[in-house]
């Protein structure tokens, strides 16, 4: 396989033209408006975790946007064609392709924090997605990120886990759950036709964090939920098509979820704790497929919140005496709109809960979003930019960091080591499962799995 640099050098004019056409096709009136609006005030600089940790021109969000806007002006505006030097218009050539690659893949996690801090109101990630799509159309997605997408397309999950391994893991975890709860009827149902909920997980759970999956199962067990996992493609909630921005590939991965829902006859697709997985399935999936889902999509955080609110499960916060803080995954919170459920759940499940500053949709990206964890070439930048999150965590004085996202958890684990934070990192379900008060029989209407 040739390097991405060699591929850029070998780009032909028709390939550049194709990239430009794809870029154009991904723009709508909103993005065109954004590309006309930036005033280069530069106030967005400090909103970016890359700039905060390395204050260079290349890390200023407006600079990254300007590289894309320069091409837009040159090829799609009269002023850019007539007076390119005056308005900063530049052609889409190899040099610009290189600059785009570095800016939109190498220096941006698409977290969107700059959008909220932009004095104009430019949603920069929407523009960067169009630029990534153009690069994808020219075969210029970093190889390791593309390999993750290819795994999903070929194997139905991004870690190429075989069906046999997946099913074995689920059965093993079921035995563990039965031992933990003392209930021989406790289940991790597989392919239960007509179950109310299809629960989908990040493949990192069966592969590296099986206790996360067991924790979610324990919560469902305590709630008497009518749920199932799928054994065939459609069990993996991830979709790195969100990051390589190849809509066709992203749509095909989304189709796995839709097919599993149809196959099993479930009415609610429940997305496990994964920021980008939620964003991809809940928000982008219908757009990629160009049709509405015939089912509902919900985050498991909303489900747990409802269990607690309705008294369907009970928790004892005294079981978590340590100070707990919460990380806000960008695709779940800022771009996903799931802001309060996880907070309500944690406030009930732990004794001492402290917010980061800033918090909620203004929280900083951990640095692992936008596919950064899958792009080894930018690893050093990723770790450096994560310094902002490390500082936030340190400032809370928390001993446990809860992150409802496995990408974020991976990044936080690296930050924990690199910045010697000395914290434990958990999912919300792990916290809830440990705090569950069980033993009282459930009302009949909630006995879904029995």
């Amino acid at each position: 396989m040739t390097t991405i640099e060699a591929r850029i050098d070998a780009l032909t004019e028709p390939e550049l033209q194709h990239g430009l056409e794809v870029f154009r096709s991904r723009l709508r009136a909103a993005e065109a408006s954004y590309l006309n609006a930036c005033v280069h005030c530069g106030l967005c600089a400090e909103s970016c975790h890359y700039f905060r940790m390395e204050p260079t021109l290349e890390n200023v969000p407006a600079r990254k946007l300007d590289l894309v806007a320069a091409v837009f002006k040159r090829h799609f505006t009269a002023a850019g064609r007539l007076a390119p030097a005056l308005v900063g218009a530049r052609p889409f050539d190899r040099e610009m392709v290189r600059a785009w690659l570095d800016a939109v893949f190498g220096r941006c996690s698409l977290c969107g924090r700059c959008s909220l801090n932009c004095t104009i109101g430019i949603a920069l990630p929407r523009v960067f997605r169009a630029a990534r799509a153009a690069l994808a159309a020219m075969g210029l997605v970093p190889d390791d990120l593309q390999a993750t997408v290819d795994n999903s397309l070929r194997h139905g999950n991004n870690m190429a886990i075989t069906k046999e391994d997946w099913v074995d893991t689920v059965q093993w975890l079921e035995e563990e759950l039965q031992m933990e709860t003392g209930d021989p009827e406790a289940r991790l149902p597989l392919d239960k036709h007509g179950a109310k909920m299809l629960f989908t997980v990040n493949p990192r759970e069966p592969k590296f964090f099986p206790l996360s999956l067991q924790a979610s199962a324990k919560v469902f067990w305590a709630a008497g939920e009518d749920w199932t996992l799928a054994s065939d493609p459609g069990w993996d909630l991830t979709n790195y098509g969100l990051f390589n921005c190849n809509d066709d590939e992203a749509g095909r991965i989304t189709q796995n979820l839709v097919d599993a829902m149809a196959r099993l006859g479930c009415t609610t697709l429940v997305i496990g704790e994964c920021g980008h997985g939620f964003g991809a399935a809940r928000w982008e999936g219908p757009e990629w497929l160009q049709r509405a889902y015939p089912f509902e999509v919900r985050s498991v955080l909303e489900i747990m919140d409802e269990y607690l609110a309705s008294g369907r499960i009970r928790v004892d916060p005294a079981r978590h005496a340590k100070t707990v803080t919460l990380h806000d995954p960008c695709n779940l919170v800022r771009h996903g709109g799931i802001i309060e459920p996880q907070r309500r759940v944690l406030r009930q499940s732990v004794s001492r809960f402290v917010e980061m500053a800033p918090t909620r949709e203004h929280n900083f990206c951990c640095g692992g979003g936008g596919g950064q964890l899958a792009m080894a070439a930018y690893r050093d930048r990723r770790i450096r930019s994560g310094g902002m999150k490390a500082q936030q965590i340190r400032d809370t004085g928390a001993e446990i960091v809860v992150a409802p996202c496995h990408n974020c958890i991976d990044q936080l684990m690296e930050l924990n080591k690199e910045y010697t934070l000395g914290v434990q990192i958990k999912t919300v379900a792990e916290v809830v499962a440990d705090a569950l008060v069980t033993g009282e029989p459930l009302p009949t209407e909630w006995k879904g799995t029995a």
Binding site: L43, A62, A79, V87
Partner: protein
């Protein structure tokens, strides 16, 4: 001399409006987005929030960290708006009451100082300088000069001629350079608000706690 210049300014204004309208039509030509995902919130509420609370300094870390720049920007914009109001009044040959005229002079001159401060910041801050194209300097200089002359012209009638010349040039430049944000600011903020409103992020439920 005054009459032809008035006509020139009006022609330039017509060009600005027409060219901005054309730019908007071109932008609309990129098409809208049909959304298939079920809304979690209200796009209209998001737009309202985007134009109100989301623009307050307290809601923007970027502003809180750069309050002097924010203040300079606000004064610059206010001065520019008042300068355009003075231009309209001049073209309509309306005599302003003296106190109002004095307020307008002070505001436009303050606005021009705000513009100069932002220009100096752009020239002296490395990452801002690196971010800038000639358009950034031209747009600022034109607008700052326009605001400064607006205030001065009402005190010193001979200045009216250069002011009207600058006004005409500025109006011609509006749709060409970054000053077109006078229109695209509103469309961008509306799109941003609708996007985050649709997804349930705007209006922010936690805004009160962040204060």
């Amino acid at each position: 001399m005054g009459q032809p210049l008035h006509v020139a300014v009006l022609a330039a204004a017509a060009w600005a409006v027409g060219a901005l309208a054309f730019a908007w039509l071109r932008t609309r030509g990129f098409g809208g987005r049909v959304l298939f995902a079920r809304a979690a919130g209200d796009p209209a509420a998001g737009v309202r929030y985007s134009f109100t609370t989301a623009m307050l300094p307290q809601a923007k870390e970027s502003v809180m960290m750069h309050l002097p720049s924010y203040a300079a920007g606000m004064i610059f914009h206010l001065g520019t708006f008042v300068a355009f109001a003075l231009l309209a009044v001049t073209l309509a040959r309306i005599q302003l009451p003296l106190p109002v005229a004095w307020i307008a002079r002070v505001v436009t001159l303050a606005g021009s100082f705000g513009g100069l401060a932002l220009l100096a910041k752009r020239a002296l801050t490395p990452h801002l300088r690196g971010l800038s194209s000639p358009d950034d300097f031209v747009a600022n200089l034109l607008t700052t000069t326009f605001a400064a002359l607006a205030g001065a012209a009402s005190l010193c009638p001979p200045i009216e001629t250069p002011w009207l010349v600058v006004a005409a040039v500025l109006l011609v430049y509006v749709p060409i350079g970054k000053i077109r944000h006078c229109f695209f600011f509103f469309s961008s903020r509306a799109y941003l608000g609708a996007f985050f409103g649709y997804r349930g992020t705007f209006p922010s439920p936690g805004w009160g706690e962040r204060r």
